[in-house]
Amino acid sequence: MKALLSTDHKVVARAYLWAGLGFLGVGGLMAMLIRWQWGWPGRPVPGLGWALPESGGALTPPAYTGLFTMHGLVMVFFAITPLLIGALGHFVIPLAVGARGMAFPRLSAWSFRVFAAGGALVLVSFGVRLGTASAGWTSYPPLSAAHVFTPGVGQTLVMVGVVCAAVSSFLGAVNFVVTVVRCRAPGMGWGRLPLTVWGLFFTSVLNLLFVPVVAVATGLVLMDRVVGTRFFMAGAAVTGGGGDPLLYQHLFWMFGHPEVYILILPAWGMVGDFVAFFSRKRAHGYRGTVVAMGAVTGLSGLVYAHHLFTSGMAPMMGRAFMTLTLIISLPAMVMFLNWLMTVWRGSVRLTVPMVAALGTMVVFGLGGLSGLALGAVATDIPLHGTMWVVGHFHLTMAAASFLAVFAGLYFWFPKMFGRHLHTGLAMGHVVSSAVLFVAVFGGQLMAGYAGQLRRLYDPYQYTFLKHLLSLNQWTSVAAFALGSAQLLFVVNLVWTLRRGRVAEANPWQVGTLEWTCAPSPPPEDNYAEVPEVLRGPHELSQPEVYERLGRDWIGQAEALPEESKASTPEAQPALGGAG
């Protein structure tokens, strides 16, 4: 109840964190069930007999369609979004810009309340007659718009839940943008913002622009479904005139493609910060990285129709969107090279957040490369609708976002809760997750390249896919191992919250405001007095700092003493290749 009533951004962030982790668990369990079906189609799932008594625990087709629909919906709208933006965004932004709180504290609280209402509707949908939504996470009409195709109220409840999530995202975005623009501490110029804040800021801009589109599109589908309008209904599903189902696809992907950047921009920001922090170097090409993130933000709404290459779109449009899609990979490349250059000859500390950030880079790189094949029309046509697409977007949206969430969580956890997570368990969790992500989603890429279509209840009913059974079984085994690996985090979390080592104010020895100006955890108003910012976020391994302070970091609001301190050689930390 405190979480629902509080306007403190840190309490709201924690509420988002618990909700997001809960939904991540739900979505993950659904993923396990989907993988079971692809590995052992029609075989009873151990322990599921109580839920599906008529089939003895085997997944029936309606149960399966509900599962893959809700897995996608829950992960996108109720797990990754609240974790990356709701939890980390709410927690980090005010602290990192030197604000006492969000610009609109009550809006923060309401954004979580609306999100919680949407989440509750989604959970309720699992218990209604005829089950939950089953029109795919994209909810394409006419499948989603007519009770005859997606019977029951589950689909309706879930779509209302999605509208709630969209409203919540919009409210949060307004708050983030205003907080970054108007509430920065004195001296915190745009060029001194941590890259994480830049990522979250660009994400918020995208949310402001495109979330209303999906909210409206979903609202129109709901009207088609509940009130009997015909925005997207056509042909046999209606009598007389109708609308255009393809219009929904345009509206959906006008949000849906920016959504992948919404989910990855904060991750990019964090990776940029962490590789700098843990290479003990300034972020290479800070401005270039920011401009690249801005370019991706600007272009993200102009590439959406690559999702529609096979929808009968005009070839000229296809060519235009293909060109724009391939162009958007260039700023992403700039960022990637900047990260690599930051690590290059740095004094790399393989902390858990750093390993998670490097893992994010690897899986995002693989995801990006596999995406090129989908961005070009000629290769998209045979690959469209196959598991290749699933593998690609899971590498980018799932693996990269997930690893970034945990990079951020392992990094800011001491500040959030005042305790240190167990390093060994955390490292095991991150490394095993990263490796298994590549195994699982690599398996999906292979299956897709072999022609396996996505969403099939039993792929092996097709003769040409029969030989993929063993590949899918191995992929499923890797997925189960991935699911099991998450227990490391659960155990770590429970143990740490009860008995974890108490965290000091700046365990990572970095200079951003939250670590250098506030205790762990910070008080309600964040700072005893609002800091005055003097420098950028990555002032690491600077000779004059080392000379005068005897350490390789300095706080953003920390003034250098006038005289240099005499320091003994043995007290000098290794500076690696910094210079």
């Binding site: 629902l4 009533l5 306007t7 029609g42 008529e54 089939s55 003895g56 085997a58 029936t60 087709p61 309606p62 009550r106 609280a109 309340r113 209402a117 509750a120 509707l121 309720v124 209604v128 007659r129 005829l130 007519a146 005859v148 195709f149 019977p151 029951g152 109220v153 309706t156 409840l157 209302v160 042909g235 046999a236 599903a237 209840y457 039993d458 009913q461």
Partner: protein
């Protein structure tokens, strides 16, 4: 409005919304069938759910075959309101057995949008019972007596069976079926004339007859219905040309049907079933009992040879020979 007050209001609204999401479906009552059995409300409700998941988009909410995806479907989806079924393992006109309905659900109907539904046996059972709520016939009549598949008398004498079957197929008369009266003939005119003369003693002149074009025939099946679900337009049914059309309950050899290989024997038994029982609602009568059992089996053997010529060069050559202008 303070936060606590607003929150309580929101929670109240949420409760109202979720409570309002109870199903509007009417509660089903137990159904007493014409054969004395009573279907429980639980079975029917489960059946309704299964029907809603899988069947409603083609067969329609009212079971009248007028679902939104039925538009333009040929053959049209069955209207369950008529209580008429083509493949029921019973004499034409009688209500089908549960086993026949389940077989149709499990296997689908070959060459139509009616798929093979790989769903739990309990769901198949439930939906078969639910179908009976659509037509009053189920409350008034018992299903017909299932027509048994008798032992095959031609085992080891297949060539002989085919030869006899050809005669049974092409010649009308006592003990013979004369299938080519509705289906097309698969013998050239001259051969058919001499076969008829040899078996019946009658000389026939078939030079003017069109023996090789199938003619659509009336059926009792609804294509369009009125607001009450009563038929306003009936479908025409084309007797299949075995060299060209897919048979609904017979599959090509080598495919898997119900997860097991479709052997010549299984194919023959399926053909026997449909020839013996006839096709309900269509012009194909019940042949079991109308002709001797050995002729029925012989006919099955012969039609099987035709079915297996479909999509083969031999079949196409036969078709060309039949359609070649008479010299």
């Amino acid at each position: 409005m303070n936060a606590r007050h607003g929150l309580l209001t929101a929670l109240a609204l949420l409760t109202v919304v979720t409570a309002g999401c109870r199903s509007k479906e009417p509660k089903l009552e137990p159904l007493k069938l014409g054969d004395g059995r009573t279907l429980t409300a639980e079975t029917l409700e489960r059946g309704r759910d299964v029907y809603t998941y899988y069947c409603i988009s083609c067969h329609g909410e009212r079971g009248d075959g007028q679902g939104p995806t039925a538009v333009g479907m040929r053959p049209p989806p069955r209207s369950f309101r008529q209580g008429l079924f083509k493949f029921g393992d019973v004499a034409v006109g009688e209500l089908p057995t549960d086993e026949a309905l389940k077989r149709t659900l499990r296997r689908g109907l070959h060459g139509t949008p009616m798929l093979a539904w790989d769903v739990p046996a309990a769901d198949v059972e439930a939906v078969v019972q639910y179908l009976k709520t659509f037509s009053p016939r189920w409350r008034e009549e018992a299903p017909g007596k299932p027509l048994e598949v008798s032992p095959d008398p031609w085992k080891g004498r297949e060539a002989e069976a085919v030869e006899r079957g050809q005669a049974v197929y092409h010649v009308a008369g006592v003990g013979y079926a004369g299938c080519s009266g509705c289906h097309i003939s698969y013998l050239p005119r001259a051969e058919l004339e001499s076969l008829t003369e040899r078996l019946t003693g009658r000389k026939v002149n078939l030079s003017k007859a069109d023996l090789y074009t199938p003619q659509a025939r009336d059926s009792d099946y609804a294509v369009a219905v009125d607001a009450k679900g009563e038929p306003t337009q009936l479908a025409k049914v084309l007797p299949p040309d075995f060299l060209q059309h897919k048979l609904r309950t017979v599959w090509p050899l080598g495919e898997e049907v119900e997860d097991t290989d479709y052997t010549p024997q299984r194919q023959r038994e399926d053909l026997y079933r449909v020839i013996a029982a006839g096709v309900g609602g269509a012009a194909m009568p019940t042949w079991k009992g109308a002709i001797p059992e050995e002729n029925l089996w012989a006919l099955t053997y012969y039609v099987q040879t035709l079915v297996n010529l479909r999509d083969t060069s031999e079949g196409r050559a036969l078709k060309e020979r039949l359609l070649a202008p008479a010299k």
